[in-house]
Symmetry: C2
């Protein structure tokens, strides 16, 4: 029953005004868990349609249905130890192609126009590096035509095509990259990344229960957090967002929470010293003892390690005696075996004494653009760790982050005390949109 | 241990000669059951590699893994009652794309070069009729280049692309069509269709245990058999084979049996009167009683039925009284409900008396190019049926086939007595390659 339609009408007018103001070209990206099954696909379709009916023009990037890619990979691996990159791309690209078609059908079923495209169809041109191709150009005419015809444009994430007509994929996190690059290409106002978390948190809520969702974060901060072990988005897509200044909103596809906006840094952000704490437990420490202290020795060692394809993170050199030095560095645990082989070879070549490794380490990092304009942050971090009887093994810093390697079983504790010490857990959220 | 290498060498020379003679460009097609899982894909790869090592150049057309298409269809149907044809094609085309990539990997694993292509990639250009597109052109430059580079060329069956870059599919049996059309386009010596049966039989061996595999059959005969209920290949691909005179060899992917060659008719074939017996139990008979006998009445009735999209097979008109006639015809059982609706409307419009239907019918047919030059075949068929107390309800004939509709539960018996009467069950096979 309706009462007081005079007031209703004025509300309606207000809403219309607001909607007109909001009308925009938006790129949305839905990950594999958001389209894991028929019900979730329908849910995404409903969200998309509701948004379209508010007046926005939408380009929707979709990943493969959760599990599909793994299933295809499993088949490929049971057929060949080293499947060719070209054929892997041919195989894996089918996952996203299926999900865009299904989403288009679900949108049609709700009475709205939609059209799906593969990466090559829509003009996402990449280089020839199969399984990790780089986007070199994006054609927009087909998207623009379809938008003009009032379609929701659905684009298969993660894939592209070469100028010679080969199918390529963009590597891990490729669908995020598709979305951000498309947002730049079509000049969208916003790139929304839908996922199964509500946004970016001051710390991993599974470890730090009072972690707070951030309303806003800078590209540089999220890049540091991502490289430090916070799994939100792949770094490449954030780098592209930063390069072209594409605002990225990370939010959940399962509710209407506001999400976290990734944007360029502003003065307001610097008022907060630390915006997040990250923990990385996937590294191991390798030490080479008594490396002869001659120019070029370290270069020689890390050249051999690089040639073995090992990624090295932190490096510390500590001169212990007149003519020799100890060198420590961290590598990913899953590359440790290969790293040790390479390092032992290197140690032998340069005449070092011996090599040890320690898998029981954890890296705790604090990140914040406010560090640029605040002093004493590192001192406070070291002090808090000391007071909590957590020894620091290695330290590494950048303009906006400080990382400490600590004993492996102390990593989660270290994260929690950092989070508390820098006041990240106290609601209301420390940083608001300006 | 080798003994008598003089003789060995002469054998070797003979083999080489034979191989040189055999060297040819072959199109092979493997259906969904032939690539149902990883082991079967590996089996196909082994067959292909063995053939390549004999010196043949191979273009291999592959269907989707058995079950994949059904699974995709199920998802689509649970999302939409009437999914758009364009999006269905987008979805279903992924099935073949995955299987060509997997087969290429399996061939690589055996040490041979192979490259996979989607329909659009390889230049299979179709019209815009989604889900049942017709091939209008096939580019061959990419295939020829890949063959020249010593690749096994693997092509996704069932699919093509329009000139405007849309993905299309060719409808049921589309992979056979891809294979036959490609064989014509690249001027292959032979198109081999691999399936889960050993070839084409004189009758369905599940019903007629002593059915014999035919070594050779003409396009026209197989077309009649296909339309009469023998499920071997879709008619469209055989029609294309006939039009362009592409020899088609139907054989099993699970053993090395010789298979059945479908080729153009020759004198030798005519020596055999009947080459096969087919049974179709999927039809029902509809009768309209006392249709006023005026010119144009039948046309009116069948126009209404056609407009309802109902396929009509046999039609018989029997004048029962001066001014009225009874009209009977057969339709597919799965279209019977809709047919009755249309027929009752038509009967009402033309002033007929009433409509009945009979689902308990079966159609038995004998087929053979030899009928052209032999007399008394129909008489023999009717006589044998009568002797076996099988009543004939309707009769229809063409130049190379005679069909009789009999009581439904007598269909299999009718098939068996025909098979015996025309000597089809007596090994050795009645018809040899010339």
């Amino acid at each position: 029953m309706r009462v007081g339609n005079g007031r209703d009408r004025s509300l309606l007018l207000m809403n219309q005004k607001e909607e007109q103001k909001q009308m925009a070209l938006i790129v949305q990206k839905y990950g594999g868990t958001s389209v894991a099954n028929v019900d979730r696909i329908k849910n995404v379709a409903e969200r998309v349609v509701a948004r379209k009916r508010k007046g926005d023009k939408l380009v929707v990037v979709v990943s493969a249905l959760a599990g599909t890619t793994d299933q295809l990979l499993k088949m490929a691996n049971s057929i060949s130890d080293r499947p060719s990159g070209r054929e892997m791309d041919m195989l894996l690209a089918t996952g996203e192609q299926a999900s865009v078609a299904l989403l288009a059908m679900a949108i049609h079923a709700l009475g709205e126009k939609a059209i799906s495209f593969t990466g090559p169809q829509v003009g996402i041109i990449t280089d020839e590096s199969h399984t990790k191709a780089r986007i070199i150009d994006i054609g927009t005419s087909r998207i623009e035509k379809a938008l003009k015809e009032n379609n929701v444009v659905i684009v298969a994430g993660f894939q592209g095509g070469t100028v010679s007509g080969e199918i390529t994929t963009l590597g891990r996190g490729g669908s995020d990259l598709t979305a951000v690059a498309l947002a730049k290409a079509v000049n969208a106002e916003l790139c929304e990344i839908y996922t199964d978390v509500e946004g970016i948190y001051t710390a991993d809520p599974r470890i730090v229960p009072d972690a707070q969702k951030l309303d806003v974060i800078s590209y540089d901060e999220i890049l540091e957090l991502a490289s430090l072990g916070a799994k939100v988005m792949q770094s490449r897509s954030i780098e592209v967002g930063k390069k072209f200044n594409v605002p990225i909103l990370v939010r959940s596809s399962l509710n209407n929470a506001q999400g976290t906006l990734i944007t360029k840094e502003n003065k307001k952000m610097e008022e907060v010293v630390v915006s997040g704490v990250a923990l990385h437990e996937g590294e191991a420490k390798v030490t080479i003892f008594k490396v002869p202290d001659r120019p070029g020795t370290a270069a020689k060692i890390f050249k051999i390690i690089a040639e073995a394809g090992i990624n090295v993170d932190m490096i510390i050199q500590n001169k212990t005696e007149t003519n020799a030095t100890d060198i420590s560095f961290t590598v990913y645990k899953n590359e440790l075996r290969r790293a040790i082989d390479a390092v032992e070879k290197a140690a032998c070549e340069v005449g070092a004494k011996n090599v040890t490794c320690d898998e029981n380490i954890a890296k705790v990092s604090i990140v914040g653009v406010g560090m640029k304009s605040h002093t004493g942050v590192a001192a406070k971090m070291f002090d808090v760790l000391a007071k909590n009887k957590i020894n620091i093994d290695m330290i590494s810093t950048s303009e906006i982050k400080i990382s400490c390697v600590v004993e492996g079983d102390k990593g989660k504790d270290a994260m929690r005390v950092m989070h508390e010490a820098f006041g990240l857990g106290q609601g209301p959220k420390k940083r608001k949109k300006k």
